[in-house]
C-alpha cells in the first residue's frame, strides 16, 4: 500500500465527503514556517519544485516516489535510461501539482440565449476578406455553430464578385492545420504571452534609450491600413527605427515601372470588361496577382456566347511559360522572358511610340504586327498588361502604350498605391541585411514572412540565418514554427485571418474589415498585439486598433451603425481609391538598349508556384494535392523546360508502370548551378514553353513547413540572387542519369480524335454554329436496353443539370478545392497520387490540340512547341442511362427521381465495378482509410452536412446534393408552408460558386427559362462521348476562340 492510498482508504471507510476539518487532518498541513526557514538557511542557489518540497514534506518525498508512475520503482528492466528519465521527469513535474487537483474546465450547456439569427444545425455566413499581398479577396465564411468550415466569394466585394481562387478556398485548411505553432516560445522553450509582453516592454525600454536605433521591423506587403498606422505610431515612438518589407513572390517591376512612367508609385487597375483586345506581356492576368479573380470574371463575361451573333473579346499572350491566362488565350506566343521587353518595344514602335526593334524570329514579327494592328483598331478599348515578374521597363512600356492607345482612363486607370508605404522590396531587404551586417540591429521584429527560407542567397543575404545570429533579439511572428523561427529568439504563433480583427484594402483600394469567426485555436496573437507590446499601449487589442482606425474611414455620424453594416456587407462602400490624373511621360526611345541573352544560353526564370505560391501554403494539403493547372503535377515543383530544350539537353521521362499517365512519371534529375548556388531538381517538360528557358517555381524545398510541406520538391530560392530575382542567365544545367518520380494526375494530353472537347474559332462558329455536333454519333433517345426513367415517372418535377462552358474555363482549379472543402474530400498524399488514387470529385482535364499521337519524340516536338490548350472540368456526368447503376451488385448507386446518380455509402461494399464501367472515370474509391479520423483540429473543418467516407467505399460528385436539399427544404416551407418552386440560381453548387469565369452553371433543366436550360438549348451544347448513349446531365459548351484572321495558320 502506497502513501496515497493510505488516505484513500480512510475515505472508503468514512464514505462521506470530508469536512474542512477532516481535510485539514488528512491533507498535508503545510509547514510554511519550516519552509521559510529552510529557504532562508539555504546556501547558494536552490531549485525547488513546490513549496512542499521546500518544506521537506515527507508526503511530498513519498509522492515524488510514488504518485504518478506507480510503477516507477518497480519498472521492468527493459526500459532504457532515457525513457526512465522522461518518466521521472513527468513524475516530478506532476508531483509538484499534487495539491492542485484542477481538472480541465469543460462546460456543456445549451445556448440559453442564442446568438442573433442562429438556428442550431443551420450554418451561418459571415463576411470578411482574406488579405493577400496588395489585395484582399472578399469572402463569405460558412460557420457551423461557431466553427468556420467553408470559404465562398462575397458577391458584394469588388475583388471577388462572388468567386474565389484555389488559394482562397484552401485558406481555411491553414486555420485548422495541426502543425501550426501553438504557444509563444523563447529559444524553443514554451513561454506565456505575459512573459513575452514583459520581455517586449524591457526590449522597448532599452530601445527607447537609443531612440530605436537598433530596432527594425520586417513585414511583407501590407494592405491593412490599421496595421500600417500602428507601425507609423511605433516609428514615431522610436524615430530611428526602420520598417523594411520583403515579399518574395512579388516583383518590384510594377512599382519601379510606375515610377519610370509616372514618376511616382501608382496602383494599376484594369477594367477588363471594357477591353475588346488585350495584350498580356507575360501577365497572368486571370490567374494571379491583385484583382485576378475579378479580372477573370470580367474577362469571361466578355466571352459569353448566346448564339453565333455574339462577339467576344480577344486576348494575346506573350509569355515564356504557359500560365492560366496563356492557356486560355486566343493567341499565344512563347518568348523568353528577356525577349518580352524587345517584343514590347516592337509593339510600342509599331504604335508610333518611337524606337525601332528587329525581332529575331519571323513568327514573333508576324505576331507583333498583327497585335499592333488589332490594338490600333481598338483604341480606347484595348488593354496592355505587363506581368508581375516583368521588369520596370516592360511595365513602363505597357503604361506608355495604354496612354498612346487612349486606354488610360478607359480600360485602365491608376490610383494611389493600395499597399501601405510602397517600397522597393529588394532594396529594402538589402538595406536591412547591410544594417545587420554592420551590427546596427539589436531588435528585429519579423512580422509574418519567412526570410531565412525565401531571401535571396547571394551577397549580403547569403546565409540569412547567419545574419540573424548577429542580432541581439529576433522576434518572429508566424503561423508555423518555420525556418526563420528556428533562428529567432522569440517566436509568437500568428493568428489566422479568421481568428483576428484587422482590415485590408482590395486591388482597387476598397477597404474591408476582417472579422474573426472563431477565437484563436491556440495561443496565437496578431501582428497588432505583437507590435503593441513594444509600444506604450501594450494591451491594445486588434479589435480596438481596427475600430480606432476605422473612425477615420467611416467618418462621423452613427458610427456603430456603419460599423455593423460594414461587418454585414464585408466591404466599406465607396472606399475605392479615386483614379489619379497621371499620364505616362515616357518615351521608349529613351530606354537604354535592352539586355538580351544569346540565343542558345539557358535562361532561368523564377515564378511563384501556381498552388502553394511563395511557399507559405506549403503545408496546405489541399493545395499540394491540387494538380497545377498547366503541368498537372502535384506535391512537387520541377524545373520546367520546353520539349525542344528537353530533347537538346537529353531530359527524358518515362511513364511509370505504377500509376502511369494517371499518377506517376519518372523524369530526369538535373543539377542546376546558378548565381553561386546549386540545386538538384526534377525536370519537367511543358508543351508551349519557350525554348531555352528553365522555369524554377518557388515555394518548395521547405525544411520546416510541417508534416505536409517539409522536404517536398526543390528550393528554387537557393539559386536566386538579389541581382537576378526573376530572370537569371549564366547558369548551368546538367542532366544526371537519376530519375525522380513526379505525381502527375494527367499525362496524356491528346483526345485521340474522340468526342471529348469540341472547339472552333469564332469565325468557324459563326459559319457553323453546330460545330460541336460534328461527327456526333449520339443515338436517338430510346435506343437503349436501359430502363427508361422518364416512363417510370422520374424527372417530373426537377431535372438537375449542369452546363460547363469550355469557352470560359481557364483551368484555374478553384472549383476543385471548393469541392474538396464542401464535400470533406480526403487528401491522400504523394504516394497515393502516384498510384492514381487522388480523390477529387471534380478534376480538370487539360488537352493540347495536336495531331494524332506521335510515336516518335522528335516529331512530337514541333507539334508541342505552342499547342492550343483546352481545359475541361469533369465532375460526375450524372448520366440518365448510367452505366454505373447497372452493374452495382448491391444497389449502392441508384437513380434519383430528379436524375442524380445517388451514392449510398453505407450500402456500398466496394466492388469498384461502377468505376470500371464509368466511361468518364469520375468515381473515386477509398482504397485505404484516407480520411484523418484522429487529428482533433481536422475534425473541425468538416462539413457536417456531408458524410465522411471510410475505407472501402466508392464516392463521387453528388451535384452538392446537400445544397439542393437545403434549398428544397426552404422552398417547401415558404409561402406559409404551401411551398414554391425552387428558383433558378437558388441552388449553387460549390464548384459553380467558386468559379471566377462563371463557366459552370447548375439548375433545373425542366424549367425552360433557367440558365442551364438556355445553355443546353444552345447549339454549342454537347455530350462528352455522346455515342455511348449515357445521356449525361453534365453537358459542355464547345470552346470558341476568337482568332485573329491575320494570325491563323494556313
Amino acid at each position: 500500500m502506497d502513501g496515497m492510498s493510505d488516505h484513500e482508504h480512510k475515505h472508503d471507510q468514512d464514505n462521506h465527503p470530508p469536512t474542512a476539518e477532516e481535510r485539514e487532518v488528512r491533507g498535508y498541513p503545510l509547514d510554511l514556517a519550516a519552509a521559510n526557514a529552510k529557504a532562508a538557511s539555504g546556501a547558494g542557489k536552490q531549485y525547488w519544485r513546490s513549496i512542499e518540497e521546500l518544506a521537506g514534506d515527507p508526503h511530498f518525498e513519498d509522492l515524488l516516489h510514488r504518485e504518478f508512475p506507480r510503477a516507477a520503482s518497480e519498472w521492468d528492466e527493459s526500459v532504457d535510461r532515457r525513457d526512465f528519465l522522461k518518466l521521472m521527469g513527468a513524475s516530478m513535474a506532476l508531483a509538484g501539482m499534487a495539491g492542485c487537483g484542477r481538472t480541465p474546465e469543460q462546460t456543456i450547456v445549451p445556448y440559453v440565449k442564442a446568438p442573433d439569427g442562429l438556428i442550431l444545425g443551420k450554418p451561418q455566413q459571415y463576411a470578411t476578406v482574406m488579405p493577400f499581398g496588395a489585395d484582399a479577396v472578399g469572402i463569405l465564411v460558412e460557420s457551423h455553430e461557431g466553427r468556420p468550415t467553408k470559404i465562398e466569394g462575397n458577391p458584394d466585394h469588388p475583388s471577388s464578385l462572388g468567386a474565389t481562387d484555389a488559394i482562397t478556398q484552401a485558406a481555411i485548411l491553414n486555420l485548422y492545420d495541426p502543425d501550426r505553432a501553438k504557444t509563444p516560445t523563447f529559444v524553443g522553450d514554451i513561454r506565456t504571452w505575459a512573459m513575452f509582453q514583459s520581455a517586449a516592454a524591457d526590449l522597448a525600454t532599452s530601445q527607447k534609450a537609443v531612440n530605436g536605433a537598433g530596432l527594425r521591423i520586417l513585414t511583407g506587403t501590407i494592405a491593412s491600413h490599421t496595421f500600417a498606422a500602428q507601425i507609423d505610431y511605433l516609428l514615431k515612438l522610436f524615430p530611428q527605427a526602420k520598417w523594411h518589407q520583403w515579399e518574395p513572390a512579388v516583383s518590384d517591376g510594377a512599382r519601379e515601372g510606375a515610377k519610370l512612367a509616372f514618376g511616382r508609385y501608382v496602383n494599376t487597375v484594369c477594367r477588363v470588361e471594357k477591353a475588346n483586345v488585350i495584350l498580356s506581356l507575360d501577365s497572368d492576368l486571370l490567374g494571379s496577382g491583385p484583382g485576378h479573380i475579378r479580372y477573370a470574371k470580367e474577362f469571361s463575361r466578355r466571352r459569353t456566347l448566346n448564339g453565333p451573333a455574339d462577339e467576344m473579346n480577344r486576348i494575346y499572350v506573350v509569355e515564356p511559360t504557359p500560365s492560366v491566362t496563356g492557356s486560355a488565350a486566343d493567341h499565344r506566343l512563347p518568348l523568353r522572358a528577356s525577349e518580352i521587353e524587345l517584343f514590347a518595344r516592337a509593339i510600342a514602335a509599331k504604335l508610333g511610340l518611337g524606337g525601332s526593334v528587329e525581332l529575331s524570329s519571323k513568327d514573333a514579327e508576324k505576331f507583333a504586327e498583327a497585335v499592333a494592328k488589332d490594338l490600333e483598331k481598338n483604341k480606347g478599348a484595348s488593354l496592355v498588361v505587363a506581368g508581375e515578374q516583368q521588369s520596370a521597363e516592360v511595365h513602363a512600356l505597357a503604361h506608355a502604350m495604354n496612354a498612346a492607345l487612349g486606354n488610360a482612363g478607359a480600360t485602365v486607370y491608376y490610383t494611389d498605391p493600395v499597399e501601405a508605404n510602397p517600397v522597393n522590396h529588394a532594396e529594402s531587404l538589402r538595406e536591412l541585411a547591410a544594417d545587420i551586417h554592420k551590427g546596427k540591429v539589436d531588435l528585429l521584429l519579423i512580422l509574418g514572412g519567412n526570410p531565412v527560407y525565401d531571401a535571396p542567397r547571394d551577397w549580403a543575404f547569403s546565409e540569412f540565418e547567419q545574419k540573424l545570429k548577429k542580432v541581439h533579439t529576433v522576434v518572429h511572428l508566424s503561423s508555423h514554427y518555420n525556418e526563420t523561427s528556428e533562428f529567432s529568439h522569440w517566436h509568437i504563433p500568428e493568428t489566422h485571418f479568421l481568428e483576428t480583427w484587422s482590415d485590408a484594402r482590395a486591388y482597387d483600394g476598397t477597404a474591408s474589415v476582417i472579422q474573426p469567426l472563431i477565437a484563436p485555436l491556440y495561443q496565437a496573437h496578431s501582428a497588432f498585439e505583437v507590435l503593441a507590446a513594444f509600444t506604450d499601449k501594450p494591451g491594445v487589442t486588434a479589435y480596438d486598433a481596427v475600430r480606432e482606425h476605422l473612425k477615420t474611414v467611416l467618418g462621423d455620424g452613427d458610427n456603430e451603425r456603419k460599423w455593423r453594416k460594414t461587418l454585414n456587407d464585408g466591404v466599406i462602400a465607396g472606399t475605392a481609391l479615386a483614379p489619379l490624373a497621371v499620364s505616362a511621360k515616357f518615351s521608349p526611345a529613351s530606354l537604354p538598349p535592352a539586355k538580351t541573352t544569346a540565343k542558345d544560353d539557358l535562361e532561368f526564370i523564377f515564378r511563384p508556384d501556381p498552388t502553394i505560391y511563395d511557399g507559405r501554403f506549403a503545408n496546405n494539403g489541399w493545395l499540394q494535392e491540387l494538380a497545377k493547372p498547366v503541368t498537372k503535377t502535384t506535391w512537387d515543383n520541377a524545373a520546367l523546360v520546353s520539349p525542344a530544350t528537353a530533347l537538346r539537353l537529353g531530359i527524358g521521362r518515362n511513364i511509370a508502370s505504377r500509376g502511369g499517365e494517371h499518377g506517376q512519371v519518372l523524369t530526369s534529375v538535373v543539377n542546376i548551378e546558378l548565381s553561386n548556388g546549386k540545386v538538384t531538381a526534377a525536370a519537367w517538360v511543358v508543351p508551349g514553353q519557350a525554348d531555352n528557358v528553365v522555369v524554377l517555381p518557388l515555394g518548395y524545398g521547405r525544411k520546416r513547413a510541417g508534416e505536409t510541406g517539409t522536404n517536398k520538391g526543390f528550393n528554387a530560392y537557393s539559386v536566386r540572387a538579389s541581382t537576378a530575382l526573376w530572370t537569371a542567365t549564366g547558369g548551368k544545367l546538367s542532366v544526371t542519369s537519376d530519375e525522380y518520380p513526379i505525381a502527375c494526375t494527367q499525362y496524356h494530353h491528346n483526345v485521340e480524335g474522340r468526342k471529348i472537347v469540341s472547339s472552333a474559332s469564332l469565325e468557324e462558329y459563326k459559319k457553323n454554329p453546330n460545330f460541336a455536333h460534328e461527327k456526333d454519333e449520339t443515338p436517338p433517345v430510346g435506343l437503349t436496353l436501359y430502363q427508361n426513367f422518364e416512363e417510370l415517372g422520374y424527372y417530373k418535377h426537377y431535372k438537375w443539370a449542369m452546363a460547363i462552358d469550355l469557352t470560359k474555363c481557364n483551368g484555374c482549379s478553384a472549383c476543385v478545392v471548393a469541392c474538396q472543402s464542401e464535400n470533406n474530400i480526403a487528401v491522400v498524399g504523394k504516394d497515393q497520387v502516384m498510384r492514381g488514387r487522388e480523390m477529387h470529385w471534380i478534376r480538370i482535364d487539360r488537352y493540347f490540340e495536336t495531331g494524332p499521337t506521335q510515336k516518335d519524340e522528335d516529331s512530337e516536338v514541333p507539334a508541342l512547341a505552342n499547342p492550343p490548350a483546352y481545359f475541361q472540368p469533369v465532375p460526375c456526368q450524372q448520366c440518365e442511362n448510367a452505366p454505373c447503376e447497372q452493374v452495382c451488385p448491391v444497389g449502392a448507386t441508384v437513380h434519383s427521381a430528379e436524375g442524380l446518380n445517388d451514392m449510398v455509402y453505407n450500402r456500398c461494399i466496394g466492388t469498384r465495378y461502377c468505376s470500371n464501367n464509368c466511361p468518364y472515370k469520375v468515381r473515386r474509391f477509398n482504397f485505404l482509410r484516407f480520411q484523418d479520423w484522429e487529428t482533433p483540429s481536422l475534425k473541425l473543418i468538416r462539413n457536417p452536412e456531408v458524410t465522411i467516407r471510410s475505407r472501402g467505399v466508392m464516392e463521387k460528385c453528388t451535384y452538392c446534393v446537400q445544397r439542393i436539399n437545403n434549398v428544397r427544404i426552404e422552398s417547401e416551407k415558404d409561402n406559409g408552408g404551401i411551398g414554391r418552386e425552387i428558383r433558378d440560381g437558388e441552388i449553387v453548387t460549390a464548384c459553380e460558386q467558386a468559379c471566377p469565369s462563371e463557366a459552370i452553371v447548375f439548375g433545373n433543366a425542366n424549367d425552360p427559362n433557367s440558365r442551364v436550360s438556355k445553355l443546353r438549348a444552345q447549339q454549342r451544347n454537347y455530350n462528352m462521348l455522346g455515342e455511348l448513349n449515357a445521356r449525361p446531365r453534365t453537358t459542355y459548351l464547345g470552346a470558341v476562340r476568337n482568332l485573329n484572321p491575320d494570325l491563323e495558320k494556313a
Binding site: G659, H662, G663, H748, Q832, I909, G952
Partner: protein, 460 residues
C-alpha cells in the same frame, strides 16, 4: 473367367486406358495402398510443408488486406480490378476440367475418363475454393460482402439483380455445390472400400461415416448409378453456364475489350483449355510419384492434349474475332483497343499471350509431342501461364485505356498482389497433397468396372 492378365483386342494404334495385367484385387490394392498402407514419404512431407508455408503466406496476405484495405494492391482509378479478379477468373477456369471430365465425358461414355476423373474433380473443387476467396476479399468492405446474397434483410433491401456480379454469386456457388456433391457421390463406394480395408480404428470410423452405410448391394449400385447419372446431367449445363456468367462480368460492361458478345463461348473454351492443362500439370507428376502409369496411361495424356488443342483453337478464334470485329465494325474504341494490344505499353503481354496460347499448342498436332510426357508437362505450364495472361490482358489492360484519355492510367501489381496469388497456389497444392493421402486419387470402383469390361471383352 480367367484370373490372369487379360489381353483384350485393342483398336490398333490406340494406347490402352488400363495397362494389362490387372484384376479387381490388384487395382484395389494399388490405389487403396496409397491412402492406407504406404508410409508417409519424405517427398510428400516436404511437398506438403512447402505448400503449407505458402498457404500461410495467403493467410498473412489476407490478414494484412483486412487490416489495411484493398489499397495494398496495385489497383487504382481507372484500373479498379487487378490481380484479384484475374485470379478469380483463372481459378474458375481451371475448375472446369474436373466436372467436364466427370460429367460430360461420362454422359458421352468416354471410358478413358475413368482414371483421371477423381482427381480432376478434386482439383475442380480446390480451384473453385481458391477462386471463391477472391470475390469475397477483393471488395472494399469484405465484412459487408454478404450484401450480395439475397437474404431477408429487415430493411427489405435486395441485391441489384441486374448486376452480373450477382449472377456470379449464384453461378459460382451453384457450381461449387454441385461439383462437391458429384465428387462426393462418386467417392462413396471407394470410401466403403477404404473403410473395409482400413486397419486403423480412427480411419475405419471416419471412412465408415463418410461411406454412409454403403454395403455394395445390387440395390445400392442401382441407386448409385442413377444418382450419378442424374448428377452428371445436372452438372453438364453448369460447366457451360459458370464461365458464361463469369464472362458476363465483362461482356455486360461497356469497357472496350470487355463489351463483346463472343465472350461466353470464348470464356468456356478458355476455361476447358486451362482446366485440361491443369489436369495434365497434376497428373504427370502424380502418376510418376505413385507409379500410376498403368492407370493414367499415354492414352489419357494424349486425349487431354487433343482436347487442349481443340479448345486452344477456339480460343485462337476468339482472339481473331476480337480483331476482326474491330476492323469490320470500324468502332473507333475497338480499333484503338486493337492498336493498343499490338503497340500499346502492354503489348509484350499480348505477344506473350499469343505465344503461350496460340503458337505453342500448335505443336500438339504432332503425335510425338502429344505422347512425350515431358513436353506435355511443359506445355501444360505454358498454357496455364498463357491463360492467366489472357485474363490479365482482358481485365487489367482493357481498363488502362478506355474512353476518356484524360483518365488513362497504368497498373503494376504490388508485393501483396503476388503474395495473395502465390498463396492460393499454395492452398491449391496443399489441398491436393492432403487429398492424395486421404482419399483414393483414382476411382477404385470405376477402375474395377474397367477391369470387368475388359474381361468381358476378352471372352466374347
Amino acid at each position: 473367367m480367367s484370373e490372369g492378365p487379360v489381353n483384350s483386342p485393342e483398336i490398333p494404334r490406340l494406347p490402352r486406358v488400363l495397362e494389362p495385367g490387372y484384376n479387381y484385387a490388384s487395382v484395389t490394392d494399388k490405389i487403396a495402398s496409397i491412402v492406407l498402407t504406404r508410409p508417409v514419404s519424405m517427398g510428400w512431407l516436404a511437398g506438403f510443408s512447402i505448400a503449407f508455408v505458402i498457404m500461410m503466406v495467403l493467410l498473412g496476405s489476407i490478414a494484412w488486406l483486412f487490416i489495411k484495405g484493398v489499397g495494398i494492391w496495385g489497383i487504382n482509378i481507372p484500373i479498379g480490378w487487378g490481380f484479384a479478379i484475374v485470379n478469380f477468373v483463372w481459378w474458375i477456369g481451371i475448375g472446369h476440367a474436373g466436372t467436364l471430365i466427370s460429367a460430360i465425358l461420362f454422359l458421352l461414355n468416354q471410358q478413358w475418363r475413368t482414371s483421371i476423373n477423381r482427381f480432376a474433380e478434386a482439383m475442380t473443387l480446390f480451384a473453385v475454393a481458391c477462386a471463391a476467396i477472391f470475390p469475397g476479399i477483393h471488395v472494399g468492405r469484405p465484412w459487408m460482402a454478404f450484401y450480395m446474397f439475397p437474404y431477408p434483410s429487415t430493411m427489405g433491401i435486395w441485391p441489384q439483380f441486374r448486376s452480373p456480379l450477382i449472377w456470379d454469386v449464384f453461378a459460382v456457388s451453384t457450381y461449387g455445390t454441385v461439383s462437391a456433391l458429384f465428387w462426393f457421390v462418386g467417392l462413396i463406394p471407394d470410401l466403403a472400400t477404404l473403410r473395409d480395408r482400413a486397419t486403423n480404428k480412427a480411419a475405419q470410423i471416419i471412412y465408415g461415416m463418410l461411406a454412409m452405410g454403403w454395403r455394395g448391394s445390387a440395390r445400392h449400385w442401382h441407386r448409385y448409378q442413377s444418382a450419378y447419372l442424374l448428377l452428371a446431367g445436372l452438372a453438364t449445363p453448369l460447366v457451360l453456364s459458370v464461365h458464361t456468367v463469369v464472362s458476363f462480368d465483362f461482356a455486360v460492361g461497356i469497357v472496350p475489350g470487355w463489351h463483346t458478345t463472343i465472350f461466353p463461348p470464348y470464356f468456356v473454351a478458355g476455361a476447358i483449355y486451362s482446366g485440361f492443362a491443369m489436369v495434365l500439370t497434376i497428373a504427370i507428376p502424380l502418376r510418376k510419384a505413385y507409379g500410376l502409369e498403368d492407370f493414367i496411361t499415354m492414352r489419357h495424356l494424349e486425349n487431354m492434349a487433343k482436347v487442349m488443342l481443340a479448345t486452344g483453337l477456339i480460343v485462337a478464334y476468339g482472339y481473331f474475332m476480337e480483331f476482326f470485329l474491330a476492323l469490320y465494325s470500324g468502332n473507333k474504341f475497338d480499333l484503338f483497343l486493337v492498336e493498343q494490344r499490338l503497340h500499346g505499353p502492354y503489348s509484350h503481354y499480348y505477344f506473350a499471350l499469343i505465344l503461350c496460347n496460340i503458337l505453342t499448342p500448335q505443336l500438339l498436332w504432332i503425335r510425338k509431342v502429344r505422347t512425350n510426357v515431358a513436353a506435355l508437362f511443359i506445355m501444360s505450364l505454358v498454357i496455364n501461364t498463357g491463360m492467366w495472361l489472357e485474363r490479365f490482358v482482358i481485365v487489367v489492360i482493357s481498363l488502362t485505356r478506355d474512353f476518356n484519355p484524360g483518365a488513362w492510367g497504368r497498373y503494376q501489381a504490388t508485393f501483396w498482389d503476388y503474395s495473395t496469388f502465390i498463396g492460393t497456389l499454395g492452398l491449391f497444392v496443399g489441398l491436393l497433397f492432403l487429398f492424395v493421402r486421404g482419399l483414393p486419387a483414382i476411382s477404385i470402383a470405376e477402375m474395377r468396372e474397367l477391369v470387368a469390361h475388359k474381361s468381358h471383352e476378352g471372352h466374347e
